[in-house]
């Protein structure tokens, strides 16, 4: 799975941190009621049977071609994303809070984007520092004063949530650019229905099957209403992109053509695709290509993945690009620290889902606190992602810390710091035995004329014991996530 922006976390646990929250069973108590049915089922299965089911699952993924390509020096191989057999279960009351929190957050962030690319009232009121927003590399001046239907800049959002040791969920990152992973959510569901049909039927799991058609109607809602039957396409960087499977999957389930940049032609500020019967007008582009690459005339000139003139067609209102370019400014690592204030500013509400405590090194007081505690913090460069430009305090050498201290002093605006976070754990099948592993939660939220939170998520798993890194590029896997329609108690096993 490609994670356009990935979760970076401390690599190992430190003894000083509190014990993680376990999704299935607290350290000193019985199994949580919503896990009881699964636990009862597991008790009837031998390690051999479990391993057999794990193989069935892996074969399902391999046959479907749900793989990512590993480019090696000598040979190129395809691997499946490590997928865990045991579902992660979330009861209805917990989900209700997550759902409300995510909807609130996306609503506020879209209002923030509308404001930033419009009047910039929030900057004039001094709620978020002006230079922090306008100097962010993800801020796109080109988007200033552009009309976006329903003020929905981010149409597809895949937030990363984590559960803290006290059991409360918090947002680690808002992914508003081109979040991926939704195909794994859907594929994991297909697989777990095959593996635990009885338990699944009894548990009352909420369906996520409608995601593709909700996505399609969200995309269609972004078109000006004078164009009936809008032509929606999915724009992919191509078959060599590690998330290609997902692009093809969504295109197939939406019935939308999967196009590459070379299939698109811009003429007279209108976008066309090259078909066998000539050029056909395109109305909505669900792009899975980063801002930088969508139009060589406006953004990166060396990009061959987009279409020349696309942004001008967008400016002219002749095509809709989803997500809108420039949404990255709202999930910037430094802006992140201000999201609770942003929610209060626009909605007059407190954030339902809290942030992780974040120190902005641009503030001298916070910088000196970070410098004094470099061995405890995770320090991240604001502009970087994917684990680059990052210091994991508890796991670093004195020399690395000294190097980062110099970098922090030289360019404090470029860094933030967060305490090392203890993710919750969930039972996973590792070498035929069930062991706890750290997990996070990536739900998917759609926003067009209305906001829809899909009742399910991708649960990412750090498959290495004790590891807190859930990135697929670093040995992370995933598992199905069951959102229950009830509390999960009154079910037959």
């Amino acid at each position: 799975m490609s994670t356009a922006r990935s979760v970076e976390m401390a690599e190992t646990e430190t003894s000083a941190t509190p014990a993680p929250y376990d999704e299935m069973q607290p350290a000193d108590g019985p199994v949580r009621p919503h896990y009881a049915a699964l636990e009862a089922r597991l008790a009837t299965l031998t390690p051999g049977q479990l391993a057999e089911r794990q193989r069935t699952l892996e074969r399902f993924f391999l046959l479907q071609g749900i793989t990512f390509t590993v480019y090696g020096a000598e040979s190129t191989t395809e691997r499946i994303i490590p997928t865990d057999l045991l579902p992660r279960i979330i009861p209805a009351d917990e989900w209700a809070k997550i759902e409300a929190g995510l909807a609130q957050r996306l609503k506020a962030l879209n209002m923030f984007l509308t404001d930033i690319y419009g009047e910039q009232q929030i900057l004039m009121d001094g709620v978020v520092p002006r230079e922090l927003v306008l100097s962010a590399p993800s801020y796109r001046r080109e988007m200033q004063n552009l009309f976006v239907p329903h003020a929905a800049y981010a149409n597809v959002c895949g937030s990363d949530l984590i559960r803290q040791p006290d059991g409360a969920f918090a947002v680690l990152e808002d992914n508003l650019r081109v979040p991926s992973g939704v195909s794994y959510m859907l594929a994991n569901r297909e697989a777990s229905k095959r593996v635990f049909p009885g338990t699944f039927r009894g548990a009352g799991v909420r369906s996520i099957d409608r995601y593709p058609d909700l996505l399609l109607s969200t995309l269609k809602s972004m078109v000006a209403d004078w164009r009936p039957n809008p032509q929606v396409v999915v724009l992919t960087p191509g078959v060599y992109n590690s998330a290609y499977y997902e692009h093809a999957y969504l295109a197939r389930l939406m019935g939308a053509p999967l196009v590459e940049g070379r299939d698109l032609v811009v003429h007279d500020n209108m976008v066309f695709m090259r078909t066998t019967t000539g050029l056909r007008r395109v109305d909505v582009i669900y792009r899975r290509v980063d801002d930088d690459f969508i139009d060589p005339l406006t953004f990166r000139r060396d990009s061959g993945l987009g279409a020349a003139g696309l942004f001008n067609a967008y400016r002219a209102g002749n095509v809709v690009i989803c997500n809108a370019p420039g949404t990255g400014v709202a999930d910037d690592k430094a802006v992140y620290a201000y999201v609770p204030q942003i929610i209060r500013y626009y909605l007059g509400e407190d954030a339902i889902l809290p942030n992780i405590e974040t120190f902005l090194c641009r503030e001298p007081a916070q910088l000196s606190h970070v410098l004094a505690n470099l061995d405890k913090f995770v320090v991240k460069a604001v502009g970087a992602s994917g684990g680059y430009g990052m210091l994991v305090g508890p796991h670093s050498t004195k020399a690395q810390q000294a190097e980062f201290a110099d970098a922090l002093r030289a360019d404090p605006e470029n860094y933030i710091a967060q305490p090392t976070i203890q993710l919750s754990t969930a039972p996973c099948l590792v070498d035929s035995t069930i062991e706890p592993r750290h997990v996070d939660l990536r739900p998917f939220i759609l926003c067009g004329d209305k906001i829809t939170v899909t009742p399910g998520a991708l649960t990412r798993v750090a498959l290495k014991r004790g590891s807190l890194v859930v990135n697929s590029s670093q040995g992370g896997g995933s598992k199905d996530t069951w959102v229950l329609s009830g509390d999960g108690k009154a079910v037959r096993p």
Partner: protein, 314 residues
């Protein structure tokens, strides 16, 4: 209406699937035949290798090694695994256009042929290995036929299959009866092997009985109206599907591949075997293969790589 790139990929997926199947058959027949050590067996080996575009069939000492390379060698451009990898790569590019049922069949075969156990399985029994691959390719075609919509995409896929098939059969006939052959193939064993390579033995026997004659084989593989591997049959399918896809495109008649396919179909439909023999089978085969190449060319110019300025909206 579909993306030109997608049509291109479906077309090539069809071509590569057909190429892989034909190569399986060539290798299977060759390995079976060369179990005997006779001049006829050697001749069959040379025919198979030449049909597989082997650079120098006469120099091949060990048919098993040659077959192994043409089956599993990823470096070899004509090998079965290369064709399958290309077919799957094209399928992956248009994964949204083909059904999961069809994709799975192709993917399973690809994974088996490129997996760690493939070399071992080939060594253990090349014949069952190749026969199973052919059966899997039939499953793929059947699954595609039964689950995909028979619309434009299907037409491009089918066009690829039949154009490739016509060219492969044409190439094989050229090897046996074309110009530059010192001795025409006349041996009974070689002739039956030729029929086996085109999967034509049983259908041939039903038409001509066990009277196996070069001119009957030529007539059957070139001109038979019902046998799915005769060039005439393939051309009929090509014309049908070209006519289906041209319904929506505004194509200048002169450049239309449908016209070329129709002309070739008529040439084969009204051909007379004695005339062909009088003029030389080789000249006729050359014409047929040239026209197949022209159809491919025209298909590209009209549907895939057309000049944009001609197609801009008014």
């Amino acid at each position: 209406m579909m993306l030109a790139r997608v049509a291109d990929s479906l077309y090539w997926m069809g071509r590569y699937v057909e190429r892989a199947e034909h190569m399986c058959r060539l290798m299977d027949v060759m390995l079976n035949a060369t179990l005997d050590r006779s001049e006829a067996a050697n001749q069959v080996g040379r025919i198979a290798l030449a049909s597989a575009d082997h650079p120098d069939p006469a120099k091949v000492v060990d048919p098993y090694e040659a077959a192994l390379a043409l089956t599993l060698d990823r470096e070899n451009e004509s090998s079965i695994t290369t064709s399958l990898a290309n077919a799957r790569e094209n399928a992956r590019q248009v994964r949204d256009q083909i059904t999961t049922e069809a994709w799975e069949r192709l993917n399973v075969l690809y994974l088996r042929m490129t997996g760690a156990g493939a070399a071992r399985a080939f060594a253990d029994g090349s014949s069952s290995f190749l026969t199973e691959a052919i059966a899997d390719l039939h499953l793929f075609k059947g699954a595609a036929d039964a689950t995909m919509s028979h619309g434009e995409g299907w037409s491009f896929l089918t066009l690829g299959v039949h154009l490739e098939r016509a060219q492969l059969i044409g190439r094989m006939l050229e090897v046996c009866f074309g110009e530059g052959r010192t001795t025409a193939v006349s041996d009974h064993f070689a002739l039956t092997s030729l029929l086996r390579m085109s999967c034509a033995l049983e259908p041939y026997l039903r038409v001509y009985t066990a009277d196996i004659q070069p001119k009957h084989i030529l007539a059957f593989l070139l001109l038979d109206a019902e046998f799915p591997r005769s060039i005439r049959f393939c051309t009929q399918r090509m014309e049908e599907h070209l006519s289906a896809v041209s319904r929506h495109a505004e194509v200048a008649p002169a450049a239309n591949p449908e016209r070329l396919a129709g002309r070739l179909k008529a040439r084969l439909q009204y051909a007379d075997m004695s005339e062909i023999e009088a003029g030389g089978a080789s000249a006729f085969l050359t014409t047929v293969l040239d026209e197949c190449a022209a159809i491919h060319q025209a298909l590209y110019e009209v549907y895939v790589a057309y000049p944009l300025e001609l197609r801009l909206p008014a």
